[in-house]
Symmetry: D2
Subunit: 225 residues, 4 copies
């Protein structure tokens, strides 16, 4: 699987280290689907976050690792968590998954039942927490950018977001409520109620503005860890 992952380690410039420090950087694995796979691309959200860290002079404090694979659902993350997270020995994992679990119901009839989504998510968190990794989880962003609840998958996206909020509480994980943040953004900025083109290219995958917004949103939580 290693060869298939576009997982790159973004090494921060160490040239700023005029300060002596024995401290290791915090290693963060971003664990997710195609959005995270693209996150390490030139304008991806992980790359954007690395740039932000550089600008803030925090480059040496964090090591950001992308571990996204296109089409992944919660059970795919479970299948590869040993190789792609545990083996990396991170301090923190940011799990950002759920879009395909909902979307594939309508695109290919291979979505994930709500009860199984919860079961696999809990099992995954349990494995990671046992390895002393701090787990942060995210609600899914959007499948369609219309803000008035007329995107076909909105009902399920909202329902699965509620499940993830419950999972965060049950497992005492930090939650990054991307769905809430993205919907607020759309309500303010998507004046023509378009299905795509504001934060996404195709209703799902993020354009550069979307990647920037995601990086900033995640950073608000990551900086507190």
């Amino acid at each position: 699987m290693k060869t298939k992952i576009l997982s790159i380690i973004i090494l921060m410039a160490l040239s700023l280290s005029s300060f002596k420090t024995a401290e290791n950087p915090k290693r963060i694995v971003f664990f997710g689907d195609s959005i995270t796979q693209a996150g390490v691309g030139k304008t991806g959200y992980i790359t954007k976050m690395a740039e932000m860290l550089g600008t803030m002079g925090l480059a040496s404090k964090y090591e950001l690792i992308g571990a996204g694979i296109g089409g992944n659902k919660i059970y795919d993350l479970y299948l590869r968590h040993e190789e792609d997270v545990l083996a990396k020995n991170p301090n923190i994992v940011i799990i950002y998954v759920g879009i395909n679990d909902v979307w594939h119901k309508t695109s290919s009839r291979t979505g994930t039942d709500a009860d199984k989504f919860e079961r696999f998510y809990n099992a995954l968190i349990n494995r990671l927490q046992k390895a002393n990794i701090q787990v942060v989880i995210c609600t899914p962003t959007v499948i369609g950018e219309k803000f008035d609840a007329t995107n076909e998958n909105d009902g399920d996206l909202n329902a699965y977001s509620n499940i993830i909020r419950k999972i965060a509480t049950d497992n005492q994980c930090k939650l990054i409520d991307l769905r809430k943040t993205f919907l607020s953004f759309e309500e303010k900025n998507n004046i023509e109620n378009k299905a795509s083109g504001i934060l996404t290219t195709d209703r799902v995958h993020l354009n550069e503005a979307g990647n920037q917004f995601l990086a900033e949103t995640m950073w608000e939580t990551i900086k507190t860890l």
Copy 2:
């Protein structure tokens, strides 16, 4: 098809007719799916409306005809509009359809594409209006009573409701916006955000309170015709 329809003519009590009137009653056909089929049952919405008319002393002014068949979508109404509406020679037809067009996408993969929904709806209205029938159309009620946009079909129900609102404008039909009215009711009265049991028995089909509420909602428009 006649034998399959639970279409009854609810004859109004004529005993109240102390007033002399040469006027014919307004004949109204309710054209729809299983909710309308059940509408002529003991506690159905058409029966409820007939009772309301009796109480208001308006029994002799209206003739209410149920023409609902379970599982019907817009194209099924088109197929049987000659026999079940035109042949009845009504003054008014209330079309209340759309739930199955959305619901059957997820229940049996035989829903109706949005563009075809609009095409058949326009063709149906065109046929009825050409016969000098006043056409009133309704947005669909609910598939799941949760008011917070977490019912699986909410996105599509909202989108198809928008299509129906557009169709009403395009064809200069009166619109009864059932979806809006029902969602407002749920927001006020469905305190525990339950999926069923407030206005429906099973997320879709109306219980007695739902039938009463539907009768009252429709009457607000019908009385103005």
Copy 3:
């Protein structure tokens, strides 16, 4: 709708008419979906049939009219049969439909239930036969060319073909059993059991060999009418 249809009247060369004939050519409407829409294209099956007629010196005996629209299902044919068939006043109509009724179940969750497929088909035939048009119906060809019953929609395609065979018997229509003919061809010629590339370009739409084979198959029945 007229403007959307790629319906062309293929006028037969009249130059051969050294014979005097008072006889009108047989007018045949081909009523169907995207395959029939493409049928009037440069290498489409209706064009191929016209070429065959020319070669056989039968050009003046037939007038071939394409009336296919992409994405059409049985109820779409019903909706437009007045404008696109009755108004053309043909002697014969060849109905070739059913692929989308099955395929859209899995591609977009908007297929046609088996019982409604039969109901609309019967209603359509009834309308056409009442206008003294000879109705010929076809079973659907293929969605995937594998001959060993491993194409995802094979079960339904076989079941809907059985329904069409029954409809032919019930309405005393000639049947062109395309599914049977195509499967026999695949069994003999699709040695590697490929999903496409033998008679189709993309598992459904016909390549030139497929169009030629379809034209020849249909001609075997048409010549007997």
Copy 4:
């Protein structure tokens, strides 16, 4: 999960043990879905097999353990293989799964993509073989008993059966080709081509004859191990 499994250990009558034997019985786990869950019921296939063993005087040679859970797909087996198979320390595991992976595509839009089906299956076998358990795998039986390839899911069932045959070869597992055996039985015995009632009660779940036939079919392979 233990409490949810109807997993019983069918202890063989030890009364025959007039022979002294130091040999341990072969412990076999049957790992699957609702059919295996029902397999330990009064007329289930595991119970039937235990009865057969008793009759043949082989009761002391085998220990049969049911580990089926209704609704399970390949990834559900992967999730619980440690607790429900490895922890039981069996000599042999019979994996009989795949029906829900196909069926849930059409029943609830939560089936399993073919490529993921193969990936999880390989991963599961790998884990079990590493623990020195002999893995035997089965093709799925039926979703609908019609023998003429007109059951809606037949195409996919045949395709996933081919995948399982390939997996058996790739991992050097014994294969019990249930689909082939069941289809042969239907062809001989299902004279009226009925959808259920021959080996199943409801097109999927086995009646007593189906359980008996399954027990006998599996035994043909198990006795050789």
